[in-house]
């Protein structure tokens, strides 16, 4: 069963443009994990979307929300 992707209007940035020079290979992945009575939410940001998606998919989520470009 493959992960469902949902496209959303906005997601918060966890990486600032001022950090770009510090990660020329684009290896930074940043996560923010929070929880409430409904469950656990993992918010991610990365220079390499596929790396982040692979990581999130391994967590077995109901769905992954993604912003589109443009």
């Amino acid at each position: 069963m493959s992960t469902e992707y949902r496209f959303v209007e906005d997601l918060p940035d966890l990486i600032e443009a001022s950090e770009y020079d510090d990660h020329p290979e684009g290896r930074l992945v940043r996560l923010r994990i929070s929880w409430d009575e409904k469950g656990v939410e993992v918010l991610g940001d990365a220079f390499r979307p596929d790396m982040l998606e692979a990581l999130l998919e391994k967590m077995g989520p109901d769905a992954v929300e993604q912003m589109l470009c443009g």
């Binding site: 992707y5 496209f7 959303v8 209007e9 906005d10 940035d13 443009a17 001022s18 770009y20 020079d21 020329p24 290979e25 684009g26 220079f47 390499r48 979307p49 596929d50 993604q66 589109l68 470009c69 443009g70």
Partner: protein, 344 residues
């Protein structure tokens, strides 16, 4: 789930029906699907999968990006499935590569044109087709335009510009602004990257400019093609040939999809590219994030004062007075208010 509905933009030719929407001009036998994967022949007609939209998202006009068109305008953004290109770096491949890539499994319910136009009117906003390839949704665009234009609701595209001249002629009257990608400077590089020729894209840009549609251009810095100085220089010269006031947006490359092994574009490289653009005579060259607020700012080409400042998420502060610099009075090209039109 994607619905197929009767399409326009085709003609009868010897041996079948020929799609006239994009320059591939596919000749379709019964049951054939075009190169775009979202138009197909069924009997004596052609159907399209682009009357539906995968999303209905609100975002600011600056996010498309448009920096010289109605600052701060909220846009109700639609994304019918599909694209005439198969770019190796596409961040939106789950939507754009519908029918071409098995990982693209989208739902695109039919667009309710009346409801969409009413929603844009209620919010004082506009309508956009973006994320995928809007030109493949020419029928939806014409219907949206027919209903939106009398109400003064702007309609814009973020497009690859891959249309036939006859399709451009039909859609131009309903488009207020377009941002079109120029992804390479020569045919071989463009074909390698996108699977399509470059010349029709450049011709579309010329035709839309001549038709009075407000035009901005984007170039993603793709390693091995558009990121090279020589390619950037030639792209910048082409954009300048449309007019030195044409805004040029330089987009940071994101390693993804079939180009995962490359590095993201460095801020230094984006700064170099911006210098190349200005050296070609372009007055308005922009980088959304990597160079900070200065990369998003509009400066008066006359006296250098900052006349429009922008945040990352579209917050805009304009010092313009009637579209001109408050310091020296130089007119700043663009459509800054609701009642301005290009070429008038």
């Amino acid at each position: 789930m994607v619905a197929w509905v009767p399409a326009d933009f085709y003609r009868a030719v010897d041996g079948g029906l020929q799609c006239t929407l994009c320059p591939f001009r596919c000749r379709l036998r019964d049951g054939d699907t075009g190169a775009c994967k979202v138009r197909r022949r069924e009997g004596d007609r052609v159907l399209t999968a682009t009357w539906g939209t995968t999303v209905e998202h609100w975002s600011s006009v600056e996010r498309k990006p448009f920096y010289h068109f109605r600052p701060g305008l909220p846009l109700l953004t639609l994304a019918p499935p599909g694209c005439s290109f198969r770019c190796d770096y596409c961040v939106n491949h789950r939507v754009s590569q519908y029918g071409r890539d098995p990982d693209s499994r989208v739902s695109a319910p039919d667009a309710d044109v009346e409801k969409l136009v009413a929603a844009a009117a209620e919010r004082g906003g506009g309508l956009a087709l973006s994320y995928s390839e809007p030109s493949l949704a020419a029928e939806l665009t014409l219907e949206l335009g027919a209903r939106a234009r009398p109400l003064g609701i702007p309609l814009v595209w973020k497009s690859n510009g891959f249309l036939t001249p006859e399709a451009v002629e039909r859609v131009a009257p309903v488009l207020d602004a377009v941002n079109i990608d120029v992804k390479a400077a020569d045919e071989d590089a463009h074909r390698r990257l996108t699977g399509a020729p470059l010349a029709p894209v450049l011709e579309t840009l010329r035709l839309l400019t001549a038709a009075g549609v407000w035009v901005e251009v984007s170039t993603p810095l793709i390693p091995g093609t558009s990121a090279e100085d020589r390619q950037l220089g030639r792209i910048a010269e082409f954009v300048a040939s449309l007019g030195p006031d044409t805004p040029w947006h330089l987009l940071r490359f994101t390693p993804t999809y079939r180009m995962r092994d490359q590095r993201p574009t460095s801020p230094e490289r984006l700064a170099d590219a911006a210098r190349i653009g200005r050296a070609a005579g372009l007055r308005y060259v922009y980088v959304e994030r990597a160079l900070g607020a200065e990369g998003r700012a509009t400066r008066c080409p006359g006296c250098g004062v900052e006349v429009v400042a922008r945040g990352v998420w579209g917050q805009t502060e304009s010092l313009l007075r009637d579209g001109s610099c408050p310091g020296c009075g130089e007119p700043i090209a663009g459509i800054w208010t609701v009642d301005e039109r290009t070429g008038a």
